[in-house]
């Protein structure tokens, strides 16, 4: 069933050189150490870990923002090694990214319509009228109105901006969408709306998600498979139920223990411990 696998990563490494000072020798930092995994078409892989564990570096490599130091990435049968081959328009149309901060990831001087059309302008030969139609369609698809086409990012709330960022990412009809903490900066109720939107889009367009998050409750809600990273290595990888019901690695256990529980039973236990 190798046809089913859309993303295939083998033995991926990324090192950064840290330049030395006058009296200090330079050193290398390995941000991602030999990561391998497969993602099935139409499924969601969640990548979990604390800051500095290499999860965002992984996202940068998957989306061709950064080249890998060694190892292979294959997306929909297309091998990605941008340090050797450069980036083709075909590669761009396979994978797109949504960032954490919807305030920082949209250019304040660009109208929303322009934001949405830019990927088409750069990567396809579509005429202007068609681009505009597609942008308007996409606005509707992510729950915004046609009149938002001519507005600037500052006129939108955080949740609406994240919708724009999602719309921009799916303009090219990518196969794979990398979501780097897409709901961390949002309020709880807005978070629920965006998660619903992502679920709808996945059904409609058959998208595959790599969902990077540190919020375990969100991961549990939407992931098919879960990968836990710790200091650049994968310490746990399995289906959602395997990982949540029976965590193997110490770090995963620590992570679960640290996650606040918002149910009456835990509160009762805490209050009892406090009274004692």
């Amino acid at each position: 069933m190798s046809d089913d696998v859309i993303l295939k990563v083998r033995d991926l490494y990324r090192t950064y050189d840290i330049s030395g000072g006058m009296f200090k020798k330079g050193s290398t930092l390995t941000a991602v150490k030999g990561v391998s995994f497969d993602v099935k078409r139409g499924s969601t892989l969640a990548v979990v870990g604390e800051s500095g564990c290499g999860k965002s570096t992984l996202a940068r490599m998957l989306t061709m923002i950064d080249a890998q130091s060694s190892g292979s990435i294959e997306i929909d049968g297309l091998s990605m090694d941008i340090a050797r081959t450069g980036i083709s328009k075909e590669m761009r149309q396979k994978v797109q990214i949504v960032f954490q901060n919807p305030y920082g990831s949209l250019n304040p001087r660009q109208k929303i319509g322009h934001v949405l059309e830019e990927p088409l302008l750069l990567n396809t030969d579509m005429p202007a009228a068609e681009r505009r139609d597609l942008a308007l369609q996409m606005l509707e698809k992510v729950g915004l109105q046609p009149e938002h086409y001519g507005r600037y990012p500052h006129m939108f709330s955080g949740g609406q901006r994240q919708r724009v960022a999602i719309a921009r990412a799916i303009m090219l009809q990518p196969k794979l969408l990398v979501l780097d903490e897409p709901v961390s900066a949002l309020d709880l109720s807005v978070q629920a709306q965006i998660l619903n939107l992502l679920a709808d889009l996945q059904d409609e367009m058959g998208l595959t998600y790599v969902f990077i998050s540190h919020d375990l409750s969100v991961v549990r809600y939407l992931a098919d498979k879960v990968m836990v990273m710790y200091f650049g290595e994968v310490v746990e990888y399995g289906t959602r139920d395997e990982v949540f019901d029976n965590p193997q690695h110490d770090y995963t256990k620590t992570l679960f223990a640290a996650t606040p529980r918002a149910d009456a039973e835990s509160i009762r236990k805490r209050l009892a411990a406090k009274a004692a």
Binding site: L188, Q193, N196
Partner: protein, 278 residues
């Protein structure tokens, strides 16, 4: 008598489009030894209420209240000079961004010492000893060496520990923590919350936790106030809030938690807004 008692607090900001009411007649009461959580989304007025209590709002804000007492002292009539004696000593505050709240140009030891020199009679060697003691009490490894560290040389979690050390330096009677763990990893969040609750129980001070995270509320609070768009929606003790929320907005918030999801879709607050009419 309550430690902090605020009645009918209203805050308005002058904007180009006329006055904007950020907070509309909310009461707050905190007793010594109690943990009050104020929960709400952005724009609910949860931070602005406590900034008003601290006297940290800009001049464009108009603050009115029927009562605003801290230990029987009327905070409304205090002069700036008198208020400065209370703020930072009896009431202190921790903010969300630990790295941004510390001055990057001075060592953490110096910044901690500054608080002590302002509010206590400690001088010289005594200040340094007390700083080491404080850093030890918030669990910073190698406190003697860390005195000379600059904020950028420490991690976010450690900076937040320094902020907490600074806030408890003068043994405050009331500590206000404004989203103290939002910028931190879950494992670090757990440590910081445990530390805050531990310090609160040891010293018997009042603690106000401002947060948008229901998990943080469940882990720390005794009593909870839920706010929405500048109004109080519900006030209850923590167990009854989670077991039987009365207000439709609270019910909406709790059911929007991904861990409470039952079906395929998460209910959103706007689904409830139509039905509940808030």
């Amino acid at each position: 008598m309550s430690l902090l008692e605020i009645r009918n607090l209203r805050i308005e900001f002058d904007t180009a489009k006329g006055p904007f009411r950020a907070l509309d007649g909310v009461d707050y009461m905190v007793d010594a030894g109690e943990v009050l959580a104020i929960v709400g989304e952005s724009g609910s007025g949860k931070s602005v209420a406590m900034l008003a209590t601290m006297g940290l709002l800009p001049d464009s804000a108009t603050i009115t209240a029927d009562k605003m007492d801290f230990e029987g002292t009327d905070l409304r009539t205090l002069s700036v000079r008198e208020r400065r004696k209370v703020i930072g000593k009896d009431i202190s505050m921790i903010f969300q961004e630990p790295i941004a709240s510390l001055n990057p140009c001075f060592t953490v030891g110096f910044q901690l010492g500054e608080t002590l020199k302002t509010h206590t009679s400690l001088r010289g060697r005594q200040v340094k000893d007390r700083v080491v003691e404080l850093l030890t009490s918030v669990g910073i490894p190698d406190p003697e060496g860390r005195i000379n560290a600059f904020p950028h040389q420490m991690s976010g979690g450690q900076c937040q520990r320094v902020m907490i050390a600074m806030a408890i330096a003068c043994a405050p009677k009331l500590l206000i923590a404004d989203e103290p763990t939002t910028a931190l990893d879950v494992t670090i969040q757990k440590q910081i919350l445990d530390l805050l609750v531990q310090l609160q129980q040891d010293s018997g001070m009042g603690l106000i936790m401002i947060t948008h995270d229901m998990g943080v509320v469940a882990e720390t609070a005794d009593r909870v106030i839920v706010q929405y768009k500048g109004r109080k929606m519900e006030e209850a003790d923590v167990l009854s809030l989670f077991e039987s929320p009365q207000n439709p907005y609270t019910q909406a918030l709790l059911s929007a938690l991904p861990e409470n999801a039952t079906g395929d879709r998460l209910p959103t607050v706007s689904d409830f807004a139509e039905a509940g009419g808030f």
